[in-house]
């Protein structure tokens, strides 16, 4: 019989090393998988990790993919530290895209510098509104936010689908389910001309830094950490649990909504049925890979962005299915969680009478 036994002194060092170990194990398992599929390991490694970022265009693409991951994961880290498990950032992202996109389409003919800021505001409000639903349900009827926020993601995705098939469909678009292309005044300025790297990338870094300061240096961040570690202590000193739940959800909703607006006003340039390849979900992995630390999240975001790019390159050059990306991300999360379990527990083989202690 095999069972887990709690360790008396979990190693702190291993806590920090866990992401590195998980990454190494993912690579190892990935190569094994490629080898079984008959792809030379060296070639696979090149296609997955070197080729995508071997030129400036590739690096810019890395930034395009990393930006939404980093900003959403930094915001999620705050909530996760507080014990508020918002799993629905994907839905909040979609609502941000819908609301911001709606502003762009409404002001379709307007060439004004105010259009883009207005779109950002609408994106933020859309994401917050979507996140407010689980916050309200949690604080009034104590409904688990994991379930409500996750379920609302599917509602958001269907809402987007309905809109681009109906009211927001491009009137001159031959019935394709997509909106008009946004005008220049409604698209994000580029950071590197000739690439798709937009202003969202530096903003994502800024959000991560701001989240770091908020978490480590402000009373609000302190309250979030206390609430996650010892809810009774938080109540005792007078930190309101309801307020922390509201803040965590609204902040993540705002950032996810902004990220969604950045997608439709940046790389995509219009509304279509799928505006995100699961950034809101992948950001959960990024947050944990970055150890719920906003700065760790920047590195983790780059790694996960590479997994998207690598998956695409592998698809093109090695004829691999696109599912490779999902497999890579899934394995990484799996190994990370396994490493975390092994930090806190040891595996004991053999049959023995064992007691709770």
């Amino acid at each position: 019989m095999i069972h887990l036994q709690r360790r008396a002194n979990p190693s702190k060092l291993m806590g920090y090393l866990a992401p590195v170990i998980a990454l190494a194990m993912t690579l190892l398992a990935g190569f094994l998988l490629f080898a079984l599929l008959g792809v030379p390991v060296g070639e696979a490694f090149r296609a997955y990790f070197i080729d995508p970022i071997s030129d400036s265009y590739g690096l810019a693409e890395l930034g395009v993919k990393a930006a939404p991951l980093i900003m959403i994961a930094a915001a999620l880290s705050l909530g996760f530290r507080a014990g508020v498990w918002n799993i629905g950032a994907e839905g909040q992202l979609i609502l941000g895209g819908i609301c911001g996109g709606a502003v762009a389409l409404y002001f379709y003919e307007v060439e004004s510098a105010f259009v883009l800021p207005l779109m950002c505001l609408a994106g933020v409000i859309g994401g917050m509104a979507w996140a407010a639903i689980p916050a309200l349900l949690r604080t009034t009827v104590n409904a688990n936010e994991i379930l409500t926020s996750l379920m609302l993601t599917y509602v958001a995705s269907l809402l987007l689908s309905f809109l681009v098939h109906g009211p927001m469909r491009d009137p001159d678009g031959f019935n394709f389910p997509e909106s008009r292309l946004f005008h220049d005044a409604a698209t994000l300025p580029l950071v590197l001309p000739g690439t798709r790297l937009h202003i969202g990338a530096p903003i994502a870094i800024f959000i991560a830094l701001a989240a770091w300061i908020l978490l480590s240096r402000t009373l609000l961040g302190f309250a979030l950490r206390v609430n996650g570690n010892a809810p009774r202590a938080a109540r005792h000193t007078g930190f309101s649990q309801a307020k922390l739940v509201w803040f965590s959800l609204l902040f993540t909703g705002a950032v996810a909504g902004l990220a969604g607006l950045f997608e439709v006003a940046g790389p995509i340039g219009q509304l279509n049925p799928v505006i995100s390849p699961g950034y809101g979900f992948t950001a959960i992995i990024v947050a944990f890979l970055g150890r719920l630390h906003p700065i760790g999240v920047i590195f983790a975001g780059l790694i996960m962005a590479l997994s998207y790019l690598g998956g695409e390159t592998a698809q093109i050059t090695l004829n691999m299915p696109l599912a490779v990306t999902g497999v890579f991300q899934g394995m990484l999360l799996f190994f990370l969680l396994a490493a975390d379990v092994l930090i806190h527990y040891r595996v004991v083989f053999g049959r023995e009478r064992h007691y709770v202690r």
């Binding site: 302190f222 007078g238 009478r353």
Partner: protein, 509 residues
Amino acid sequence: MLNPADGPLVSMRGITKAYPGVIANDAVSLDLQAGEIHALLGENGAGKSTLVKVLYGLLQPDTGEVLWRGEHAKLRSPSDARNLGIAMVFQHFSLFESLTVVENIALGMAVSANDSLRTRIREVSSRYGLPLDPDRDVFSLSVGERQRIEIVRCLLQEPQLLIMDEPTSVLTPQEVSELFVTLKRLASEGVGILYISHKLDEIRELCDVATILRGGKNVATALPKQESAASLAALMIGEDVQPVVRVDNPKTGDPLFALNKLDVPAKTRQSLALQDLSLVVHAGEIVGIAGVAGNGQDELLSAIAGEVPVQPDEMIWLKGESVAGWTAGQRRSFGLCAVPEERLGHAAVPSMSLAENALLTGFHRQPLQRAGLIAMSRCKRSANQIIDTFSVQCHGTGSAASSLSGGNLQKFVVGREILQSPDVLVVSQPTWGVDAGAAAAIHKALQSLVKEGAAVLLISQDLDELMAITDRIGALCAGRLSNFYSTPSIDAQQVGQLMGGKTALDGVA
């Protein structure tokens, strides 16, 4: 007692265990004979817990070895210890409140809760005088009864060595004497007992031998029955303990804090409703609330501190203001500080540093922020002040709260509130599991706080403590308060009646 010539049952030789910055055990040795009740005595941080954890396989020593019946024992985990016949009753129980006694025991032993287990529980409990109904729900049991579950769970393993970590700190005097009968019975059957306590009278009554630790080293092995409590205490802390002197306050000042018919409905099946509680605490006095744990103490502290909202508004008064509708933070800012009973997770955040824990309740009344940001240097200074004033033993302000021994953390959380110079301080079980030296320091600090004009409400199970330092006393039983009496006018026996549910004493004003 068995013949000592057989050699010791367990012998710990030169155990050394160092942590960064501190040597918890420095070449500690201990011999325990079969059938012997052996006291392990020492201040907080003296290394008692470390030594016991080594013996129970929870910690590996850096050097030194444990001999079991003269042979080297490999103690890599608690299961190794249990296989040898070592069992331990912890200070904190791990029981599932919503399950029955037999279900809890079955869970702990990885067997099923069937009738044969029920029969064995009945056998063991009647044989050792530990009355226990296997089918009662744990949440309905008193602390003493819960401890019995833990003891029975250990005895079902037929141990040869039983380790007991401060077992009497939660028991009533009646329960303590019942426990002693059980322990003596076990010893007479040849079981060795390692008894950790700081209650010197108990050790003198119960124990055959005492090993005394100070600063991680053996300082003495004594025969407690031939020592006085004072001489044991002197060995333990290296100086003569100053007994707490009763300071009778000739007069008290204005009322600072009052409860006016406080009603708090029960939140869960496990919690109690508070009914119709009224009391007044004046400036310059310590008012005591006695009572066996689980009679509403937690609920009362939560309501006073502001953790749970209370309706209507007129039920809690602070310095002439009705504060029942205020948040915990508002009450603190206005002058009401509180220390809950549970140190880890309630009064302090276990994983956070002492500096952060100083910030936890300190920011309401102290300038620990600068320009909207937390000023970590100020938090450290505040934590250092607490550490210095109350001689908290730790590796500095960066130590995690969970790394401190129970008594040291208690000094820290009580000190943290006292140094905020509150007008009203409410403390629950301030010396629970704390050794004599630390308890005396806490008592003195409370007395000097009231001397400066504050009001103190002391919720405690420790009758000696209440009789020694309170000016007026009452008791909480099943969520209701008794009348209050001037402490010098009544004796412990009478307080006992109040604790048992009497609301008024005959013939006392």
